[in-house]
């Protein structure tokens, strides 16, 4: 598998994503510059965390018009895999790859902490290596992570099983107290209708090694790899 990690001015989780793919997963990884039009034949595009273009105007609003994003949108339309993490989730929403939007945390505070997530769907190309209802620990670090969408969109996401990760308490319940940002329905991560674009606020690439406190992000990357090796068209 070959993964491309997009670097926008202000991206700051690009090297973590590279490390996860190249050093831990042992797969080929390349950086993709925001001004380029060449995806270099990658199977997976990772939109990493950070503050692309300073988060000016709205998080992700300007990044979506960068040259590389026009190619990423085409890649996604062809069925290619896209993983948007944190700022990458915001960019994917702004670009229309995923429904909804990420707004300022309801607390008005930046939150940086490990959170408990429940895996609500394993029938995706990003989560097959988990089991349904599994509770995992993955860190979040964001100021604008409140997932918002209209009622029809939420009903469709829920009905189609497109809510992949939800913020929960230790018992697996999606309580208000377990919700770090006020996301509707405690939504932490979703896939698109075609199932080839995943956006999530938590950082799986920071939960790949026990030395860093959690390896719960590893199955996500292994799921993607399994998808690619399984011959699912890119």
């Amino acid at each position: 598998m070959k993964a491309g990690i997009v670097r926008f001015p202000g991206s700051n989780c690009d090297e973590d994503a590279y490390h996860a793919v190249a050093d831990i997963l042992g797969q080929e990884a390349v950086y993709l510059w925001h001004k380029d039009h060449d995806l270099q034949g990658v199977d997976l595009v990772i939109l990493p965390g950070g503050f692309s273009y300073g988060d000016y105007l709205r998080a992700g609003a300007i990044a979506r018009f960068s040259p590389i994003m026009q190619e990423v949108v085409q890649h996604a339309k062809r069925g290619g895999l896209v993983l948007g993490i944190c700022n990458g989730f915001q960019i994917a929403c702004e670009a229309g790859l995923l429904p909804g939007a990420l707004l300022r945390n309801d607390t008005l505070r930046f939150v940086s902490a490990p959170v408990s997530l429940r895996v609500d769907s394993i029938a995706t190309r990003f989560s097959s290596q988990y089991h349904v209802g599994q509770i995992i620990s993955i860190p979040v670090a964001h100021g604008d992570g409140r997932y918002t969408a209209d009622g029809d969109t939420l009903a469709r996401l829920e009905g189609e099983g497109h809510v992949v990760f939800r913020y929960v308490d230790a018992a697996g319940e999606p309580t208000n107290a377990a919700n770090p940002n006020g996301s509707l329905r405690n939504i932490a991560g979703i896939v698109n209708d075609a199932g080839n674009v995943l956006g999530m606020m938590p950082h799986p690439e920071r939960a790949m090694e026990s030395a860093l406190g959690s390896t719960d992000g590893l199955p996500l990357f292994k799921s993607i790899l399994d998808t690619m090796l399984g011959g699912v068209p890119a």
């Binding site: 105007l57 707004l103 300022r104 945390n105 409140r146 918002t148 969408a149 006020g182």
Partner: protein, 85 residues
Amino acid sequence: MTRFRCAIHIVPRRGILDPQGKAVSDALHSLGFAAVGDVRVGRHVVVDTDAESAEAAREAVKAMCEKLLANPVTEDYEIASVERA
């Protein structure tokens, strides 16, 4: 072509939680402004643009709002004024 100065208000759509607006509303209540109801905090953008007419400038700014300046999922915008710069 004439240069026009266009002012745009962008606010969180009603029905969507605006934590900044709520914090301001709470602060105003604690200051004794008991009559204050809903408060929404948004952005004020001023764009200078060249156009053949004020109407053309307004049309251009509308397109800018729909493409970039406002998020159609969560925000409403209003072009407050279009004047010769």
